[in-house]
Amino acid sequence: MQHLIKHQPSFALLQVQLGPSETLMAEAGSMVARSHAIAMEVKLNAGRNAGFFGKLKAVFIALIRKLIGGETFLVNHFSGPSGGQVWVAPALSGDILHLPLAGQRMLLSAGSYLASAGEVDMKMRWGGLRALLAKEGAFFIEVSGSGSLFATSYGAIQQVNVNGTYIVDNGHLVGFDSSLDFNIRSAGGGLMGLFASGEGLVCEFKGQGRVFIQTRNASALVDWLSPMLPG
């Protein structure tokens, strides 16, 4: 499988050349175009080793998410006996990040999954009670295994190498290495900082590892647009 990411960072488009019988898995609704020889099949993304209950849980989550929005955890499988091309893009304007996995684990904020190939496992992970207070990210997606993972963002993606501690606004978080500890807290500056700074809650990372941030935030876009809206 060969891939090319074009038009970064604003309107990134993933172009994949599949060899005979190779498979690309992509978030439902993300296909832009494909060769006629490539077939599409919708499947439940329950993880490779999911048992009956694992699958049942995945069906349940998929249905809820199909109704409330966000990742559906239904993925489309693209493949063909003689191979071909597939183009994939996310719904919002933004970047695509290629993360090769070789046994390590990463956490992605919900909504960041675009596509994957190879033996990549995904699990929904509860971000903890305090994550509920944050506007975004009560859930994280935990990815592990080996293969290629393609994550997406609203805005451009920047990599921050943490060595010590670093704070990221929770609406601007794309993902991070699981080697980092993280904790949700106020942006600082006391009560005034919590309610009037416009920063709300932030994620504080500790340790060593990569954090990927996105340069825009959908709720900031909404706040910017709201005063301009007609009735």
Binding site: G155, Q158, M192, E204, D223, L225, L229
Partner: protein
């Protein structure tokens, strides 16, 4: 302090790396993406409640601003505006003035002063063309929806007309008239509305997109309020 603007013109972000403790950047509320934990953040009504209220009412800026103060060398801070677009950095020197369209202010260093310049009936007529006046000495960062296209009037152009929803900023030395383009039919049907006709000597920045088109596009996708 070192500064770098990345991802212009798509999704620009500003990265500041502080050289010494005590260095400060003041930013529009909600603009922070990430920072070193040890950088102090303080939220305040910048330059008193009167000026802040005036800015909020007339300049479209938020009432609160955050001041970020470095506590050690090498600490970094990331900032970005809400809209998809660009950031421009200007180094203001004493005697220089820059006029910004409401909403274009992103951040500045402490030596930069901001004031709302009342545009009178002319400004009122040109809906939303309230301007912030920046002066003093220091760095000023402003942002646009879309890319920023700069035109040097008095040099490459004798004058320039810009649709007023596309106006971002201009330097002192330029003056403008608010006009309609075409005839009366054009005012109502052309979709162009009002324009600013600039003359003089200076630089004009326009944005390649305008928020009102985005608002009209999104309107049908909004939920409808329930009757009760």
């Amino acid at each position: 302090m070192k500064q770098e603007i990345v991802n212009n013109p798509d999704f620009a972000a500003l990265r500041v790396v502080f050289d010494a403790p005590g260095e400060q950047v003041i930013a529009e509320s909600g603009a922070m993406l990430a920072r070193d934990t040890a950088i102090e953040m303080k939220t305040s009504l910048q330059s008193g409640i009167g000026a802040a209220m005036k800015r909020k009412l007339l300049g479209g800026e938020s009432l609160f601003q955050n001041t970020f103060t470095a506590t050690a060398p090498g600490q970094s801070l990331w900032l970005a505006p809400a809209a998809e677009g660009s950031i421009q950095c200007i180094e203001l020197q004493p005697g220089m003035e820059l006029f910004l369209q409401s909403g274009a202010y992103l951040a500045s260093t402490p030596g930069v002063e901001l004031d709302t310049k009342w545009q009178g009936a002319k400004g009122f007529f040109a809906k939303g063309l309230f301007l912030l006046k920046a002066k003093g000495a220091g760095l000023l960062w402003f942002s646009s929806y879309g890319a920023m296209h700069a035109v040097d009037i008095g040099a490459s152009y004798a004058g320039y007309i810009v649709d007023n929803t596309h106006m971002v900023a201009f330097t002192q030395g330029l003056s403008y008239d608010v006009q309609k383009v075409g005839g009366l039919k054009s005012l109502f049907f052309s979709g162009e509305g009002l324009v600013c006709n600039f003359r003089g000597q200076g630089r004009l920045w326009m944005q390649t997109r305008n928020p009102s088109s985005l608002v009209s596009f999104l309107h049908p996708f909004r939920r409808v309020q329930s009757k009760s």
